[in-house]
């Protein structure tokens, strides 16, 4: 279809959409159109401006310039309610759900004119069955799995008969089997004439699902294509602009066991968390163990029990043969076990403190930054500078607050802080989450280098591509249990899916 006919038949047309924030132009003259019943991919790296663009369509952000046309009429939603009443709904990347409220209450909050409670409950059951997404309207949302939580969001949208459904990274929290179910649902919707604007950076997914793709880079439309006709590599090149830096790796013989867990169980410290159940694993020197799994299956808890923030109720953890089950975080660091949690702001780093202070956060023991309780600020600042230089952290200097750095730069700082301390074992959770491609590549390379120099590395990640790239062996967390690790080589998607636990929550409704 040519550009003109697309324009004429369009459900939604964007013209010259522009939005600037202080210091950054998030969207610059973005124009494209979406046809009824089409799955339209919005493709781009983190920071390419995808989120800002859809927020403008959904009425959350007001554009600085540009106009939209919906079914031939000017469309300028002043708020999400206005967007919804025009038939535009959205499923968020981070679910906008209320943990303590029930499924029905959550859905009701997302509707403008919700029916009576009983009617609504009945409608939820009906629609959820019809689209193959069973849900019990009376369950408390906090108790649902990630996949079920997404269903709540989707059904909330479906109940309003949307003309356009916006989905922001919907599969990042799903198992491959759940992804299949979702795609079936989406195809059913498009067959009924609903258009879907699908945001993702997962190229295979887009090739499977989408008929049309608009590629954003640094806030601008750089290309459009039919993703079914392109290879993943071609799509990636459109997205990144130059060829991807693929980490290289020299095969190394795994050494002796560096870290082992035997039958470790731990109750989750948070109310809606996942308990760890009988986890056993061994990691050898020089190898990278990849741990996959859908979000919320015990990743945070696994990192906590290894960092020493959490205490195992049963089982034992050994480091280089010594029992460290009862040791505190700093005692573990002193012995060579370092960790980097997923959440940068507020967990692995304190956002309002300077980079120097953040270097002290985990470096105090191994870098000898403290003498009889007194701080050696000069030495600490040197350490921060070394991290900044070695990991190419873009910042005016170590006096700057951690929170003033971009996600990718802060993550480089956090990973660099641990790597430079020459750990025997390094455990990282979601090392490249929300990080731009070049920083992600640098981080992955540093992990590979670390393993190459003889450290044992554990990478917990929800990004399967990443794990396939760095890991020697693969395993997955599923409801707090860990599958037996298998070599990454020759692994197929079916096996991975089974290790991740197949389909979640079929018990509902």
């Amino acid at each position: 279809m040519t550009g003109d006919t697309r324009h004429q038949n369009a459900l939604l047309t964007l013209e010259g959409m522009t939005k600037a924030y202080p210091g950054v132009v998030a969207n610059d003259q973005v124009s494209f159109s979406i046809l009824p019943g089409e799955v339209h991919a919005l493709l781009g790296e983190n920071g390419a401006g995808k989120s800002t663009l859809v927020k403008m369509i959904y009425g959350l952000v007001k554009p600085d310039a540009g106009q939209m046309t919906l079914r031939g009429e000017s469309f300028a939603p002043v708020n999400p309610a206005a967007a919804r009443s025009s038939g535009v709904t959205m499923v968020f990347q981070h679910f906008s759900l209320f943990d303590a409220l029930s499924v029905a209450e959550n859905i009701s909050l997302g509707m403008d004119n919700p029916p009576d409670r009983r009617v609504l409950s009945a409608r939820i059951r009906e629609v959820s069955q019809a689209y193959g997404l069973p849900l019990d309207p009376h369950r408390v949302v906090g108790d649902l799995s990630a996949g079920e939580r997404q269903r709540v969001e989707i059904i909330r949208c479906l109940l309003q008969d949307p003309k356009l459904l916006i989905m922001d990274e919907p599969t990042s929290v799903l198992t491959p089997q759940e992804v299949d179910i979702l795609f079936k649902t989406l195809r059913k919707l498009t067959a009924e004439g609903t258009a879907i604007l699908y945001i993702s950076h997962k190229l295979e997914e887009i090739r499977t699902l989408c008929e049309h793709a608009t590629v954003l880079r640094l806030g601008k439309v750089v290309d459009t294509c039919d993703p079914r006709e392109k290879s993943a590599r071609q799509l990636a090149e459109m997205m990144v602009g130059d060829t991807l830096h693929v980490p290289s790796r020299e095969a190394a013989d795994p050494g002796p066991v560096a870290l082992s867990m035997t039958d470790v169980s731990m109750k989750s410290p948070s109310e809606f968390g996942t308990d760890l159940r009988n986890i056993s694993l061994e990691v050898r020197k020089g190898e990278v163990l990849g741990i996959g799994g859908v979000a919320g299956n015990g990743q945070d808890e696994l990192l906590a029990v290894l960092s020493g923030e959490g205490r195992a109720q049963t089982g034992a953890i050994t480091l280089g043969g010594d029992d460290i089950t009862l040791l505190h975080p700093n005692a573990r660091r002193a012995r060579g076990l370092l960790t980097a949690p997923e959440e940068r702001l507020g967990h692995s780093a304190a956002p309002d403190m300077s980079l120097t202070e953040n270097a002290l956060l985990t470096g105090a023991v191994r870098e000898k930054l403290v003498d009889r309780g007194f701080l050696k600020w000069g030495r600490t600042e040197d350490f921060a500078r070394r991290i900044i230089t070695a990991f190419d952290v873009r910042t005016p200097g170590p006096d700057n607050a951690a929170g003033s750095l971009s996600g990718g730069n802060l993550q480089k700082f956090v990973i660099g802080r641990e790597v430079l301390q020459r750990p025997d074992v390094l455990v990282v959770n979601q090392p490249t989450w929300g990080v731009d491609a070049s920083a992600a590549a640098a981080i992955r390379q540093s992990l590979l280098d670390l393993a190459h120099h003889g450290a044992a590395v554990v990478v917990i990640s929800q990004d399967l591509d990443e794990l396939m790239e760095v890991a020697d062996r693969f395993t997955a967390l599923n409801e707090g249990r860990l599958a037996d690790p298998v070599p990454t080589q020759g692994l197929d998607v079916e096996t991975i899916g089974l290790m991740m636990g197949g389909v979640h929550g079929e018990t509902a409704a």
Partner: protein, 361 residues
């Protein structure tokens, strides 16, 4: 349309400048309040802020009072600021202050009329312990059961006030007091009296202790691991646990220290300026110290200055009561306003104010 935009990092300039702005704003608002009460506003402000220090007749009397009043405020506020920085809200300093006074005074009175040089040090120790123990109640309850320390420490103020009423009419009552409530007066008990160290300055042991506490807190917060842990816990509690901070120990340290310092303040007050345990010797220092801690931006040097300023409003307030008939409550209001303006202006150090960029719809 006015719109707030979060700064990437807090502005150091505004952090230092907002307290000054808050004081100016309070003077203006206070002036309006005094005017509404039918008092000459400029004269009232001058009486509060200028006359206590520089008035020919009153100055010599009120100048020493500055340190007498500032001492306990600073001592308590320094302790509180440690906890506030870590997100541990001990707001029952008034109770710890009373308990310190009762315990310290009891030890002294038990040895009446001995003249041993050990009596006063023993009282100081007992005062600190009394305040510490009273603060450990919310501390232990929080650590063991997760009980809210705000409510427990506050409830204990009322308990302490009742205990004070009880002992000043019972246990510690002056046997030679001809039935009047209140203990023996420490002025008649030299070994236990918290005397003025330098004549005419108001400087007593409590003021000296306050200065020591300021220096101690400054070194702790800027040069010591424990101080770093306190700050880290307040900024990012999860990061603190990740960095190996033991929250239990930190909670007990912060509550214990603030309790001990409040207890000390109580002991120094009761054995010096107040002179005896009476049902109402406490004058709300434990609560005013909260304002002092915030006005000083939870920073030891800031607290030192804020304590002096707040002491000035006390003395100036008394003077204004005397000279202009300004009600005592007006000064309390004035202090409350100061806290509000300070909190309101805090926004400037964390956010930029932008005009005409209506990003939120």
């Amino acid at each position: 349309m006015i719109h707030l935009e979060k700064r990437p990092q807090p502005s150091k300039f505004w952090a230092g400048f907002t307290p000054v702005l808050a004081v100016i704003a309070t003077m203006i608002a206070g002036g309006i309040m005094f005017w509404m009460l039918g008092k000459p506003p400029l004269e009232a402000i001058r009486t509060i802020f200028w006359d206590p220090l520089f008035h020919e007749t009153f100055g010599p009397y009120s100048r020493p009072q500055l340190l007498v009043k500032a001492g306990p405020l600073i001592l308590i506020a320094v302790g509180l600021s440690l906890g506030f920085r870590a997100g541990i809200w001990n707001i029952g300093a008034e109770g710890q202050y009373i308990m310190g006074a009762i315990c310290g005074a009891a030890v002294g009175l038990a040895f009446y009329p001995s003249d041993s040089v050990l009596i006063f040090p023993a009282m100081v120790l007992a005062g600190a312990l009394g305040g510490w123990a009273w603060a450990m109640i919310p501390g232990v309850l929080k650590v063991k059961f997760g009980t809210n320390e705000i409510l427990v420490s506050l409830m204990l103020v009322y308990v302490a006030e009742n205990l004070l009423a009880s002992v000043s009419q019972g246990l510690l009552k002056n046997p030679e007091g001809m039935g009047f409530p209140g203990s023996r007066n420490f002025r008649d008990f030299p070994a236990a009296y918290n005397t003025e160290l330098i004549s005419g300055t108001g400087m007593h042991w409590g003021v000296a202790a306050a200065f020591v506490a300021v220096i101690f807190a400054y070194i702790l917060l800027t040069r010591h691991m424990l101080g770093f842990q306190v700050r880290l816990t307040g900024e990012a509690p999860r990061a603190a646990r990740f960095a190996g901070v033991n929250p239990t120990r930190l909670i007990l340290f912060c509550l214990g220290t603030s309790g001990a310092l409040a207890g000390l303040a109580g002991l120094f007050e009761v054995s010096g300026p107040a002179g005896q345990v009476t049902i109402d010797f406490n004058s709300g220092y434990g609560f005013t110290a909260i304002i002092v801690a915030f006005l000083g931006r939870l920073h030891p040097i800031g607290i030192l200055l804020a304590g002096l300023l707040m002491a000035l409003t006390y003395i100036g307030g008394e003077l204004a009561q005397l000279m202009l008939g300004l009600p005592a409550a007006a000064i309390q209001m004035f202090q409350g306003m100061l806290m509000f303006f300070l909190l309101a202006m805090d926004v400037l150090s964390h956010y930029r104010i932008r005009l005409n960029t209506p990003a939120t719809v």
